[in-house]
Symmetry: C2
Subunit: 340 residues, 2 copies
């Protein structure tokens, strides 16, 4: 771990100074900082459980202490970190892409999935979703509309789309559709040396476009569904091209399986909101020192109120005594302040 | 990034003190440290190219500067970081496991892959390898011998095996079969804020058992081939069980594809030694600021001398002007000093 350049010495001095200043700041403002760690959370048993858990696993004198390298937290994204109603943001992008393709080639409107999109036949997609089949839902929805694109062009198309998109009800962009209390929870965990990951059923490469900006979570900590790519070493300028086939659908039991494949350790904290997160929460809950957190959408006024696609996981959460966050009761504010 | 506990204050003071002490140490021994950054490398154009590259990408005043979050390096393991002759270490483990199973159930010796192992029919495995087919080689070799085991039991079996195994020629364990110059390169890169990953064709879960100990590379930075798992929520104690099927074979073009899937960024440095690394090296080389490094096994006396399975990548390396490390000429020592 030795470094060999003079600039490093000044960097070390700078870092040491910042750390020392931080000590004084913490000493002076310690109490305030403690109370304000999760300012958008109401004082409630849920907040207490979270803070108690973090205190325990970070206290070297506690029998529940967990070494920093094992402080892994995995979050779902849709409905857990940002709004998923009336439809996943990712789906809005996919549908807009399909409409664009149909405009370029009207023959497509006789072919699925374009046909269902043009006819607003949501049941077609519900059936694909309920089917739990990797090939059908991912192939039809995530792969086909962007098939043949380079990874780079896919990123450019979606970045442009994300910059322009507004939520149909709230009339704001994606940056203002994240849950402020959950953002604070991520920051709080990171400040306590947790490695915070997102395991989403969305395509990882979609969410990665915004994860750093939204949550300060870098791309390698965002894992999701994936499309099979082809590597093309064309003209000495190789590229990755998206095929029309699925590689991985990251939902249900696929979440713990992908956690094992990518991280190789069991997280000690997981947060989700729907049945698609059940196995991930269960996988984490069975660790001796762990916290499983379930977000319930109970606030029709500030966000949405619904339990569908979550009945099973809510029942398990009750049975196992997980931290069930009631959005209406537990959150002082839902969105970043500029929205409210 | 605020932290809220008094223990944190003392941790910060401790860290600041260590950093300050580090400054003095660097100041006093600065010159020596610089010269000794890669002490097992002979002074050669290869070492110069590596040091020049690292200087450039870490110098904020250089037009080649790369921000720390994009300083990603990916290393192959077999033949690049540790000895792969006479056979991959991973294969020694798999073959021992097969022999153990045949001893328990002699009928197995009529069934592949057990039959080929007992008869020492290496051509059976060569054909599987050359076939490049995920299902045949991984299913037969990586999955079948450990099928039905929990992930935990798989880890225990292999850890025990690794602790006991000795290399047939060198008569030492795996810890003494890593290349000291490459270990120094990893340390040197990490000291310069690189994120160092291993992308291996071995099963990731095998190499992860030792990666932290050998290279100080944590499990989430080790990505490899994978077996399909099943998630079993049995008796409220869920587990991941290994199936008899392959999930991913991480070699050839699969390496850049997995890099994209797991990290979502193109590395700026890659190191490999065989045709299985060609696409990863090419993928990295085409970045504007990048270094592709190829290890050549030229030292029959201290290690091995061979070019087979590397002809194609060596030819591309010559054509593209990659850093071609000649083990005999470029390395002062090959293994950790206790071995030589």
């Amino acid at each position: 771990m030795k470094h060999h350049y003079s600039s490093y010495i000044s960097k070390r001095i700078l870092l040491a100074t910042i750390l020392l200043l931080g000590c004084f700041e913490s000493r002076v403002y310690g109490k305030t900082v403690h109370e304000d760690g999760l300012p958008s959370w109401n004082e409630s048993p849920r907040k207490e459980q979270i803070v108690h858990f973090v205190n325990e696993v970070t206290d070297p004198l506690s029998s529940n202490f967990v070494a920093p390298e094992d402080r892994i937290a995995t979050f779902d994204n849709d409905g857990t970190l940002w709004v998923e109603k009336p439809m996943y943001t990712h789906l809005f992008a996919i549908f807009d892409r399909c409409r664009e393709l149909v405009a370029q080639n009207p023959d497509l409107k006789e072919i699925e999935p374009f046909k269902a999109i043009i006819k607003k036949d949501i049941s077609y997609f519900s059936r694909l979703y309920e089917n739990h089949s990797l090939d059908t839902i991912l192939g039809q929805l995530l792969a086909v509309p962007f098939g043949g694109m380079t990874v780079k062009n896919y990123e450019n198309w979606n970045q442009k789309w994300l910059n322009a998109w507004k939520h149909p009800r709230f009339k704001v962009g994606y940056k203002q559709l994240i849950y402020q209390p959950m953002l604070e929870l991520i920051q709080y965990l990171k400040a306590n040396d947790f490695q915070v990951y997102i395991f989403t059923a969305d395509e990882g490469s979609f969410l990665r476009l915004v994860s750093e900006d939204l949550y300060d979570i870098p791309s390698e900590r965002v894992q999701g569904s994936a499309i099979r790519l082809e590597y093309i070493p064309e003209n000495g300028k190789s590229s990755l091209i998206r095929t029309y086939q699925a590689q991985y659908l990251n939902n249900w039991s696929a979440k713990p399986r992908l956690i094992n494949q990518v991280i190789g350790k069991r997280p000690i904290l997981a947060a989700g909101n729907s049945n698609g997160d059940l196995e991930m929460l269960q996988f984490v809950d069975e660790q001796p020192n762990s916290l499983a957190l379930l977000v319930r959408h109970t606030d029709a006024e500030r966000e949405y109120q619904y339990d569908h696609h979550a009945e099973e996981v809510q029942s398990l959460a009750n049975e196992r005594g997980w931290v069930i966050v009631d959005m209406k009761d537990d959150w002082k504010s839902v969105f970043p302040s500029s929205l409210e």
